[in-house]
Amino acid sequence: MSEILSLAGANLISPIILSFALGLAAALARSDLTIPEAVAKGMSVYLLFAIGFKGGVAVSAHGVDQTLILTVLAGLVLSFGLPLIAFALLKIMTGLSRTDAAAVAAHYGSISIVTFVAATSVLEGRMIDAEGYMVAVAAVMEAPAILSALWLVARGGGGGAMAPGLMREIMLNGSIVLLVGSFFIGAITGEKGLEEISAFIVTPFKGVLCLFLLDMGLIAGRGLRQSKGVLGAGAVAFAVVMPLIGSTIGMALGMMVGLSLGGIVLLMVLSASASYIAVPAAMRVALPEANPSVYLTLSLGVTFPFNLTLGIPLYLATAQIVTGG
């Protein structure tokens, strides 16, 4: 326990987390500090490209484990399955309508790539290796949760039919394409390719992540401010409980498929994190009646900061204790 706390403490005073905290504080204090939308989008392209590329290089270097396919399958199961658990929980803990609950559930089955990146940074800082293909697992987990959510709504007779072209749009979503594409570029060009561009995608990476998290803090803070009063205590509690449940299930699956300690932690983080890019956009098309304030506030305003600050060190410590690593 004290180990967990000291780990969490060390995590909390990293420049990355403090940058997020600065953004959050600035937004809550109504500062006019902003990062232009184009720059934020540019940074996210950079982060996705870098993380995908490095994942691909890792796979090309260490070869494809026999656990790769199993892990991808585990990711699919998690992304399809977690929304069902989330939905049941929401029905118990909150008074959200079926549609709102399904929309929220979709977010928790999907993933937050920035949380994943932050976890990767923490692991690197502690010299813990992880399977390079976890990036591909992240990509695989982005979309299926959306289908589960639509099924939940359709089952309740509430519409939720797939708008034409939506499936294609989700699968060819910019983040997925970029992550998978750069993963393949990394896998093809390998260490040699990495050497050519590592001064761009490796060394400055953490610094860019700081500015990106500054922006995330600003957005989360503004979201929290604007949605004051939208959420009850039950919903907020859900946004903390669900990651704990998700990460536990993720840990179990990660151990079953035989991942390394680092891989298990990353699978826990993917399970625990909630989407705030791909899924919200899909929800606006597929479930327009669902209230965006609800799902964005939970995902970005509560779960994201929770995972970033306390969640990641907690999952790491738990995995270390359970696996004896």
């Binding site: 979201g223 949605s227 919200p280 956009a281 899909a282 098309v285």
Partner: protein
């Protein structure tokens, strides 16, 4: 100069719906439109600003100049997309140069 009577329709709608709206307009025979970026706004679903958004969210404004007789077709096409979504539709009387163009 010679001008021609037209309607100017302005549709403010969520960005993820942009392609669906322009597809619907095209199917309704609308031959031209202009899309303006939107920086922020306020309505029944609250206040928002572009800088406070991530991903594809946010809104856009689609402006169509059309012959008056095509207005109803356009509005119906637009409405199927706008109906359940966040957004507003407004129409003004206008004159245009070069009627052959639309």
């Amino acid at each position: 100069m010679e001008t021609h009577t037209a309607k100017r329709v302005e549709i403010v709608i969520e960005a993820p719906l942009e392609r669906r709206l322009t597809d619907a307009l095209t199917q309704a025979g609308v031959t031209g439109y202009t899309i303006l970026p939107v920086r922020g706004g306020s309505g029944r679903s609250g206040q928002w600003t572009r800088e406070g958004q991530i991903g594809r969210a946010g809104m856009v404004a689609v402006v169509c100049l059309i012959k008056p007789e095509r207005l109803d077709g356009l509005l119906e096409a637009a409405f199927t997309v706008v109906e359940k979504h966040i957004g507003v539709v407004s129409i003004t009387d206008a004159q245009v140069l070069r009627a052959e163009r639309f």
